[in-house]
Symmetry: C2
Subunit: 134 residues, 2 copies
Amino acid sequence: MKIGELSRRTGASIRSLRYYEAQGLIAPLRESNGYREYSPMAEDQVRTIRFYLQLGLTTEQIAGFLNCVLSRPETFCTEVLPVYESKLADIEAQIAQLKRIRDNLVDRISSFRGESEQGEGVSTRDERSERYEF
Amino acid sequence: MKIGELSRRTGASIRSLRYYEAQGLIAPLRESNGYREYSPMAEDQVRTIRFYLQLGLTTEQIAGFLNCVLSRPETFCTEVLPVYESKLADIEAQIAQLKRIRDNLVDRISSFRGESEQGEGVSTRDERSERYEF
DNA sequence: CTTGACCCTGACATTAATGGCAGGGTGTAT
DNA sequence: ATACACCCTGCCATTAATGTCAGGGTCAAG
């Protein structure tokens, strides 16, 4: 199939499909006129790429294990686990940082509410940690 | 004081101090030689700017209420609350999204652990599409 | 008068995936 | 042959604050 059809089938823009190729994630054949010709398997391949992108992995990381996971179960690919673990650490750190900012914002917002009557920051902290715990 | 000293006192790089000025957050006088001359109050002003930046607000948002909060308690500045609330909504959404990704990663990581004892993955396809769910 | 520590402006780079345009070729149906 | 849908490459833009040059003034001390 040609790039337009693959785009329609996968939801990836034509621009993105060309980008994945430039990043070495997919290698369509070329017809004599220069058009890309994708095999039917490309559809699954693109969906797999997009899934890993949604997990926040980079094209470079995906390139490191894509061939493996396309041909066998993910759990057989030893390259995948460290990538997951490193990404997970990133995510946890980001969440922690965002939580700090959020708590600060919540404090400051609640001090606006308190300002119209009297007492300042009551013991919002306990309520907050309950509500936001996860 | 000149820009180098203000930088040392506040921890903001010289580049950043110039940037804050370009964004309309601070307006030092100019000496006849073109050098910026900052009043002593600028030190507090820069610290205030940096604090709001740490909360994730943009220079544009900060510009919208900086004059007010510099001259009276924050809770008297009605421009601030909606900015906080909007930022808080962003943060909550980001946290929720990161949590989804994290949960997915945790699942996938734990499936590696289980795989060492379990039988093979016969149908790679089905497993993968199941786990693709967010 | 030179050195060295300051200061100035302006411009480009950074990150990563994607959008979008310009300028052009291909293929098919009318 | 002409319209139209499709494809190609290459390039610039995006976000927002900051880093980092280049090329050049200012000024005090020696």
